[in-house]
């Protein structure tokens, strides 16, 4: 009797068997849940944008105090056609890219060095602790004096405020490598450079990604701060200039551009993490 019903079930394993409890067949699948979450997120964003537009059109109609989405987009379109927008965006993007790349390189390298060399750690530790908690944006006037109003002072401020979280996370990443795995490496006779590349670096990778995520946020802040202080171009300059002439739509446009930059960069980093650390995805999926 049991044998027969087993064979029976096997034959139609594709279709949901009517014998299954209703609660099980009605439960949404993982894909359905994901699709539902995505639908909600999209609706939430669309709702927010509608609210923005509605507020600008009907609630706060004074153009100095607020600006509806449609007007912000219109301004953006105009600036895009005139080439202004791409010029400012290009300046900001370059400041960000150079400053962030520099802080990522230096931060990861110094973090790894500190984690593997006792002497380097002893020497750098007080400085890192000091600067990590300092409000380093206050250095901007100093950078303006040293590097001038152009690209260099912006790269400097971006570097200085983004480098410490990256450094610290790289350091912690190496330090948190599982000692059991280090023993495995020893048992298999790894050289110290093999221990570094095959154990320490992959162990540190998730921490490095976290550091880079924090660094991206800080670097964007660095670009804004740098350009708000003194500049001749850039999205931050666009915002300052518009603010001085009560052009709220352009101010909103600038803020929107910075926000979108942040979102795109975070997504890019997520993608990078999936590519570099596929085992972490499988951890999430199996638990």
């Amino acid at each position: 009797m049991t044998q027969i019903s087993a064979a029976h079930d096997e034959a139609k394993v594709q279709a949901p068997s009517p014998a299954l409890p209703a609660r099980l067949t009605q439960a949404p699948t993982q894909a359905q849940l994901t699709a539902r979450s995505r639908r909600r997120a999209i609706l939430s964003v669309l709702g927010g944008l509608a609210l923005w537009e509605f507020t600008g059109q009907f609630l706060v109609t004074n153009p100095i105090l607020f600006s509806p989405l449609s007007k912000v987009l219109a301004v953006g379109w105009k600036l895009l056609l005139s080439g202004e927008l791409m010029r400012h965006f290009g300046v900001s993007a370059l400041e960000f890219a150079l400053g962030f790349a520099l802080s990522a390189l230096v931060g990861v390298a110094l973090g790894f060095l500190m984690a593997t060399s006792r002497r380097t750690q002893d020497i750098l530790d007080p400085w890192v602790s000091f600067f990590y908690s300092s409000p380093l944006v206050a250095l901007m006037p100093f950078f303006l004096l040293i590097f001038g109003i152009g690209l260099a002072s912006k790269v400097a401020i971006v570097f200085v405020i983004a480098v410490f979280p990256i450094l610290l996370n790289a350091f912690v990443g190496i330090r948190s490598a599982d000692p059991h795995l280090l023993e495995v490496a020893k048992a298999f006779n790894c050289t110290s450079s093999q221990i570094f590349t095959k154990i320490l670096m992959p162990a540190a990778l998730p921490f490095v990604i976290v550091g880079l995520r924090l660094g991206i946020g800080r670097a964007l802040t660095g670009v804004v701060v740098g350009e708000l202080f003194a500049s001749r171009a850039g999205v931050g300059y666009l915002i300052t200039a518009a603010g001085l002439s009560f052009d709220t739509a352009t101010v909103f446009l600038g803020v929107l551009i910075f926000s979108l930059m942040g979102v795109v960069l975070m997504e890019g980093l997520k993608y990078l993490e999936h590519r570099l650390a596929p085992w972490r995805k499988s951890v999430q999926e199996t638990h």
Partner: protein, 260 residues
């Protein structure tokens, strides 16, 4: 029979928190013959892991020496393969990449190491899992990968430190049987640590009973059972008698060390 592993007068000290030296292993001497399967049992904390790490060359010893084929052990080497107690697979490597780890470290090309790893995965019953990550495997499967990784460097001596301790009872029995099957095929000298007496008696040609504080060999018991050994052997009166004998020895040891 030739001697594969020779331990003479081995003592190991650790420093206590106050900086005082404390003897953990007390002048252990023993010989293990080629292709012998030797199990070590003893109360927790008696120095089993320390002993196997010393043989593996992972820690220095203060007195005595370990020789393999007459050669003095100075550090880790390809003549010994380790299977650790804890989960020691590299989580960022797939099953296949974990198995080839020891070969990769020695510069063996993938063209050579991958087919070898595939055949070892087949041997441990994991064919088809080469692209999985350790986190996707059960505890038993992970220890199979661990075994395959140790076998990949084709060591003469397998050092196994409570490899099945974390497994549930049924999986453990299956793994014991499979290990014996693999050992019969590969012919290695095995040093197998466990705190489960029945596991030691079922697997070993010989069971060494360690005493505590400091660790030394309290008894060296030859296990007479024919091979291959069916799992049902564990229910036989003769088997249970040996287990009981060893338990009595350890029980006395535990009581003695508690009184000391």
């Amino acid at each position: 029979m030739t001697t594969k592993l020779q331990v003479s007068g081995l003592s190991k000290y650790f420093l206590t928190r106050d900086g005082e030296p404390r003897k953990v292993l007390d002048s252990i001497s023993l010989n293990i013959e080629t292709n012998q399967f030797v199990c070590i049992v003893g109360a927790s904390g008696c120095g089993k892991t320390t002993f196997i790490r010393a043989i593996g060359g992972l820690i220095p010893v203060e007195e005595g020496e370990v020789r393999i084929d007459g050669q003095r052990v100075e550090g880790p080497g390809g003549d010994r393969g380790f299977v650790f107690q804890h989960d020691s697979l590299l989580p960022w490597r797939t099953v296949l990449d974990n198995v080839v780890f020891g070969l990769e470290v020695r510069g063996v090309k993938p063209a050579v190491s991958h087919p070898l790893a595939e055949s070892l995965l087949q041997l441990v019953g994991l064919n088809g899992f080469d692209k999985h990550y350790p986190s996707e495997l059960s505890g038993g499967m992970r220890q199979r990968v661990n075994l395959a990784r140790a076998l990949a460097i084709d060591p003469d001596v397998l050092l196994m430190d409570e490899p099945f301790a974390a497994l549930d009872a049924q999986t453990r029995e299956i793994m014991q049987r499979e290990l014996l099957k693999i050992w019969a095929q590969k012919r290695k000298t095995v040093l197998f640590i466990t705190h489960q007496i029945d596991e030691a008696v079922y697997l070993g040609d010989r069971v060494l009973v360690f005493s505590s504080r400091p660790g030394k060999v309290a008894a060296d018991i030859a296990i007479p059972f024919e091979r291959p050994r069916p799992l049902s052997l564990k229910r036989s009166p003769q088997f249970l008698k040996i287990v009981d004998e060893i338990w009595t020895l350890i029980e006395q040891e535990v009581v003695a060390s508690m009184q000391a």
